[in-house]
Symmetry: C2
């Protein structure tokens, strides 16, 4: 049977597959930092070149930011749109890495072999599982399983500024596929594959508060001069009430309570709150009182401070009373929460809290609503069965605390539903030092895609 | 008369005096940053070499940190201890400087010529006024006005960690003088010289709060995982009440109300609150409600955040939920406030506010109580008259918001009173970008010291 031959081919080709992934991981394609612009371009070129070896007419398409890689290949139904992103997160704090984040290693750990490096999971390792499945399919059968359109982005980690204009400008070309596939999510646990059917939205804001027009000496001015760090701390403190709820006016408009049926499914997964927290050095759930960890992650909105800086932050001490303080703040959104309304309400609330003599600038770091997938499409059940064949436990439909705005954009702009199948694990350290991807995630990920492609094209 | 000849000599020698100061200013002796250790050493050597040209047996004395420069010279009463510091503050943010902070310039401004560069005032420009006065005295009279012991420190801007041990280890040598002189304060205004008789103390603390044991993805953990930036903001916000008072328990123990007599003197100075604030872009006094600006600066304690950092602070956005957040916090102290008791109360208060799953580390960045000078010593009245002869307005006894812990140490360890006479102005930008020292401050500062030396030795 052809599927078994393809799976065997994936097994046999694993060393070469890993070599290819390592080459891609060595390119520091950090999209948020202009210092790495050339590397982002190099990563796009590598992806296009690799696709070309498989007969894809891959092109690097310019945008006003980092380019897209687009390609078409194959014949037959269904027509799939495969999306991935070849850019990665910054790597600071660099001193917490056990190896150079762009000199990836295969490491033996207590839980098995892992691929260690920036992008090992997010998204280079994940997206290569699909490409390796297609490579094996073509090697064994001499053709592609069906018609596939590829779309690879280089700005996913910096808010995707070019994505919507690109989808709109190329909607004729990109709206033909029947369903989109993305590998940028996790399994439920090491033995349980998953299809992610609920994603939180994301709203990013940056605040720059200015008090005095110059940095001052805290001896010569401390007391009568307002301190923007204290103003910022006051604003941050006011963003939550004592129940852990976000205080932005009307923030909870559009936040649905989860149905008893879905809650029962989630409870049946046996998620271990204590173990989840223990893995990152914690013991008690923070956040909204009266909500379980899974409920908070998959179905509740949040407000987090992702960065803060002001005054003197070097070694030693400097008695400065700074002119400015700034923070990066993000909101995770669920249900039908409207990111644009929330941005306006947030800015109004902050401005209202601003004391006299302080001014504020806001920077918009993107906005996307939550996504809920079309699980009534038969493709979901086919994929669930295919995944269940590969892994020890049956596949689950799960939620995700993260945000993949692209799924919403595909629906809105291209009218295409998305199926999110990923092989990461919660301890992969996405966006953190020592990011990793289990060798098993990579290997069985590719095998899983072969099974799903087989199921979808039968 | 000899004094007039000395003053004329100072006038004639001004260009050469400036050349000497510029040479010292070009040495980037930033004491708080180990990258500049060699430069701090070079600055010590420059001071010792310059003193040697005046016949002082100057020595560089090692400490566990940056060295002291100690020298003795002259004969006759009173025996003066002159203290200055040859180290300077860091220069960030560098992009706000109009010139390289270590390539000093003489600039024409609307208010006259200024010397622009790091240390132009604090303390290189100020301390050189005394050395230049002595140089002129020796050039004209062939000798020193009296016995002088010099002590120059290289750690004043980083909390003076070696100072107390050095004073204690050398108290036999250093306790002989009758009075100490320091040039590290300001005139009251451009036309009014001042002797600073009250100084605030300083307590420096650094807090490092750890929540999760690794930086997390705010999508995968936002909600149930505690965010140390939010914890830190909450702590900072709780340090003041809505009246602007510091909430550390028993913080106001030892804070005296200013007597009607002193308050009347201060009111007579005609300090312009609005102009003071306007110069730095502000319009309303922050701080304790019901207190004037001068009262807050000279006689009220404060708590300020001097620096804060956590999470991602680079360009763009990163949805990290950080493991750590840190802040540098300082307290200005008055009266008989006990810095050690306040440190303990502060740490207890912070620990009590710490939520479960967070740990905290404190770093001690020094502690010194407030100083109140011995104005009943006749030297003060002699100096006040001498200063009044040099400047348009009579000299004033004033307070200062800043901290010069050395005055307290001289009293406690050496049993020597200190007289603080300085020539800076409030807009000199100490510890800020574009630090300056008016050419008039430098020139008439040297002339002022010649007059004070003449008055003290008569």
């Amino acid at each position: 049977m052809s599927l078994n031959a393809i799976l065997t081919r994936i097994d046999d080709d694993l060393p070469a597959s890993l070599d290819r992934l390592m080459t891609l991981l060595r390119i520091p394609s950090i999209s948020t930092d202009p210092a790495y612009d050339d590397d982002v371009q190099r990563a796009a070129q590598w992806v296009a070149d690799d696709l070309a070896t498989l007969g894809v007419d891959a092109e690097i398409r310019p945008t006003t930011g980092h380019p897209m890689v687009v390609g078409h290949v194959g014949e037959g139904a269904p027509h799939l749109l495969y999306y991935g992103h070849y850019d990665v997160q910054p790597v600071d704090p660099l001193d917490l890495w056990t190896n150079d984040p762009f000199d990836p290693r295969i490491e033996d750990t207590a839980k098995g072999k892992v691929i260690r490096g920036r992008g090992a999971n997010d998204d280079k390792g994940q997206m290569m599982t699909f490409i390796e499945a297609c490579r094996a399919w073509k090697a064994v059968t001499g053709k592609w399983p069906c018609k596939v359109t590829f779309l690879f982005e280089g700005e996913e980690e910096c808010g995707s500024p070019s994505l919507i204009p690109f989808l709109e400008a190329n909607s004729d070309e990109l709206s033909a596929p029947d369903i989109a596939l993305i590998t940028d999510t996790s399994r439920f646990d090491a033995d349980t594959p998953a299809i992610t059917t609920m994603l939180r939205g994301l709203l990013g804001e940056e605040l720059i508060i200015t008090g005095p027009n110059v940095d001052l000496h805290s001896g010569g001015y401390g007391g009568p001069a307002i301190n923007p760090i204290r103003v910022l701390a006051d604003i941050i403190d006011a963003l939550h009430d004592d129940q852990g709820r976000v205080t932005v006016p009307d923030f909870y408009d559009g936040v649905p309570e989860i149905s008893d049926e879905i809650m029962a499914q989630w409870n049946a997964l046996g998620f271990d709150d204590a173990a989840f927290l223990r893995d990152v050095g914690l013991s008690l759930p923070a956040g909204e009182k009266g909500r379980s960890v899974l409920e908070m992650l998959w179905s509740r909105p949040t407000c987090e401070v992702n960065g803060i800086i002001g005054g003197y932050t070097g070694d030693g001490f400097k008695t400065v009373l700074p002119s400015q303080a700034r923070a990066k703040i993000s909101f995770r959104l669920v249900g039908t929460q409207d990111p644009h309304k929330i941005r306006i309400a947030f800015r109004e609330m902050v401005r209202a809290k601003l004391p006299p003599d302080c001014s504020i600038d806001f920077k918009d770091h993107g906005a996307s609503p939550a996504s809920i997938m079309a699980t009534d499409d038969p493709a979901f059940e086919k994929a669930r069965n295919a995944l269940s064949d590969e892994w020890p436990n049956p596949a689950a439909f799960i939620g995700s605390g993260g945000s993949i705005p692209i799924a919403g954009h595909f629906k809105e702009i291209l009218n295409i539903d998305t199926m999110l199948i990923g092989y990461g694990l919660e301890d992969d350290g996405l966006h953190s030092p020592n990011e990793k991807y289990d060798l098993r995630s990579f290997h069985q990920g590719a095998r899983s895609w072969a099974r799903v492609l087989d199921a979808l094209t039968k």
